[in-house]
């Protein structure tokens, strides 16, 4: 409750701070937020785009949050995302099975490779004492250039482009992808406005996969003895060690699961949205945004779900103020930065939170 209120207050403060910046740039804040609101919720296709956008954010946020509960800072969500995406793209091209086998198989392989990649950082910490922040930053770059190298390998590389071949259609998790453009589909959709609009973007199963992951992670953390031990390590490695918990093993396991989650994010992105991967000059930022998602969601699974949707909405609708008002879309980054800044100094809101909590308790007492 307290954490939720804190996040909420920080978000509101961040939005107010954004308004201030808008004001200073000579743009009406009310107008801008109206554009953003309408740009996010006024049409079914907008909502669909937000869902697509939020999927990866929720999953990478979950990845960072999970590692955080074991006391590890997973900066490597970015690299794990790339590894997941690369694996999905590669095996999505290489295999030609029926969707019932192809999709789970490709997803599983992506999860495994990214899990291995995340676990590598955990293992290096456990075995050699390499701080995970350092190792994951390095691993991010290794993942990026390895992916770029793989895109150019023969058979996988699409000639005369900067991208890989597209995955086999049987790997796609986009809803009704073929039916949408078929004759029957388009005639039917012509009569159904809402669904036509909603299905125009590549709506895919990723969001459901993300939801399932949120629930699984919540169960692990709050209902299992495995999660109990992970949390003990996170809160107090000394006490955990003394209590006979193998702290090193738990750190490696935690990073493996965190890696798996980011890998799933990368895989769903390829299988549901992009369908291939491209040469990257720099990081796309899905993993780094996960850090923001995790922080705003106070490192809890359902917190990551909410804040993933929130950041997804902000990022999608933020683009619209550029064209409509000629406001800089960087404003969104400023706002997210401000929110995280506020979250980093919880003392700022402690008094107001206590007041609000008191009010709530008082009201409950009167009822």
């Amino acid at each position: 409750m307290k954490k939720f209120l804190l996040s909420l207050l920080c978000v509101i403060s961040g939005l107010l701070f954004g308004a201030l910046i808008l004001k200073l740039s000579g743009i009406s804040a009310v107008e801008a937020y109206k554009v953003m609101w309408e740009g996010a919720f006024s049409r079914p296709s907008y909502i669909a785009y937000i869902m697509i956008r939020s999927t990866a954010l929720i999953l990478t946020g979950l990845s960072v949050a999970f590692a955080f509960r074991t006391g590890l800072f997973n900066i490597g969500a970015e690299g794990q995302f790339i590894i997941g995406a690369l694996t999905a793209a590669y095996f999505g091209c290489a295999f030609h099975f029926s969707p019932w086998l192809q999709i789970p198989l490709v997803l599983l392989l992506s999860t495994l490779t990214a899990s291995f990649y995340g676990g590598l950082a955990g293992f290096m910490k456990a075995r050699f004492g390499v701080h995970e922040v350092i190792s994951t930053i390095m691993l991010n770059w290794i993942a990026l250039y390895f992916s770029n190298f793989m895109v150019m390998t023969e058979g996988f590389h699409k000639p005369n482009t900067e991208t890989s071949e597209f995955i086999n259609p049987t790997t796609s998790i986009t809803f009704l992808e073929n039916w949408k453009v078929s004759d029957a589909g388009s005639t039917w959709l012509a009569q159904h406005d809402f669904l036509r609009e909603f299905l125009r973007p590549p709506v895919n199963a990723g969001i459901f996969i993300a939801l399932i992951c949120v629930i699984i992670i919540w169960i692990i953390l709050s209902k299992t003895s495995f999660g109990f031990k992970l949390k003990a390590v996170g809160f107090s490695p000394e006490a955990a060690r003394y209590a006979g918990i193998n702290v090193n093993k738990k750190m490696t396991q935690s990073m493996m699961i965190a890696g798996a989650l980011s890998g799933i994010a990368g895989a769903t992105h390829v299988m549901g949205v992009s369908k291939n991967i491209a040469i990257l000059a720099a990081h796309e930022g899905y993993g780094f945004d996960g850090i923001a998602v995790s922080l705003i969601g106070s490192n809890s699974p359902f917190g990551a779900l909410l804040s993933g949707f929130f950041l997804g909405t902000l990022k999608y609708s933020g683009q619209k103020i550029q064209s409509a008002l000629e406001a800089p879309s960087e404003l969104i980054s400023i706002m997210i930065g401000a929110i995280i800044f506020f979250i980093a100094i919880p003392v700022l809101f402690e008094k107001s939170i206590n007041k609000i909590l008191k009010l709530i308790l008082k009201n409950e007492g009167e009822n």
């Binding site: 299992t224 809160f235 000394e238 955990a240 003394y242 918990i245």
Partner: protein, 513 residues
Amino acid sequence: MFSLELKNISKTFGQFKANDGINLKVSSGEVHAILGENGAGKSTLMKIIFGLYTPDAGGEIFINGEKTRISSPRFAIKKGIGMLHQHFMLVRPFTILQNIILGIEPRNTFGMIDYQKARQEVLAISQNYNFNIDPDLKVENISVGMQQRVEILKTLYRNAELIILDEPTAVLTPQEIIEFYRIVKNLKADGKTILIITHKLHEIKEIADRCTIIRKGKYIETVDVATTSEADLASKMVGRKVDLKISKKIASPGAVVFEINNLNATNDKQLPAIKNLSLHLRKGEILGIAGIDGNGQSELVEALTGLRRVKSGSIKINESDITNLTPKAIYEKKLSMIPEDRQRRGLVMDFKVKENFVLQTISNKPFSHYGFILSRELSTFAQRMMERFDIRPRNIELNARNLSGGNQQKIILAREIANNPDVLIAFQPTRGLDVGAIEYIHNELIKLRDLGKSVLLISYELDEVINLSDRIAVIVEGSVTAEIKSEELARRKNIKEHIGFFMAGGNLEGITK
């Protein structure tokens, strides 16, 4: 005239009244003790006097009869108040001299530090009080007792007339404590006023003239030390009658259950910390290990519990070898431990009380089933423990952080006893606890002994070791240098000095001389 007078001083943190209408009158030139249990509000009060906390409105402070508002430590120092914190505030790589003048360095005409002048002044004070220090030694190379003298010198250098000492003997050896008493008497003879915070009764009897007792933040009374007995002081402090002497039957030790043979282990810097240490522990006895902090006690406990690698030697429990097994395996062989640092090692402070009861056993039946926690079993177990060990408040959902030190320690004790250990290692089991909690823990340890279990008690409090143990081994630099058998413990009159002599590095030859 009163050197310091407090009238109706209160300090509230949120809803909690740490001090509630405290009155205090300290006469000029006396040694005045503040007696109270942990959490009674002694330190809060001292912080108010030293300007670290601002008291609530409504109270008054007078210094030498003049009403003042102590707004900051800087102001307090200017008014002639000096304070020694429980943990010394010294810059370790600096020399004694540099530490003393830090912040008020005398300057020469070029604006450089005038070390010559500073040294002369410091040496003058040191000689005046017989401090016997070399101002050019680095603080990291001097003993704790010496560091305390440096802290006192610091206040004197700042012309303190009233010196506040916060639990000054907690870190000293018996010999250093005697030296400390002498210094306090010297200071008093020179007309300084001393305010000493403590919960050690014999210390008050030894050096204080008057004593103000506070309990749960409230002023109880001020008594004349000479006419008040230790037992009276204790009952006033706790608010009920307390047994100062532990009552226990004579031990009847059985077979050997725990054996340490020629143990060697290194510390974190890879230097030898345990050297050829051998001990054995019988059923139904408490073996005390006396020694000054830093003589290998931590390393020994870690080596015994699997947290530190043993280089050579062996550890056996019930004749099965547990040398270099994992902490978990050792725990399952019925060796339990109350760790030295309960907040860092003993408990996960951000876990609920009920979760802390099962740190080691969460994966076992009945708490887990196929890896899923059975929260009802967990709660029932926790509830039972809370009743059995009288842990308060009786709320298993609270975070361990929110309990008092005594109750935190009871959680650990309860958890370790629940494992039904054959050997319990109790490392500083009553550190920082109040009289009531100490009494409780001691009685539980004796109960365990009477059940035929063995307790290895490792404590820096010599009184505790002597009172509780059936047999005592003295540890110096990682080796057992002396063993005091139970007959000797009962017989000898000056047992404390006797053990203190060994703790300070003395040997048998020294005694015969």
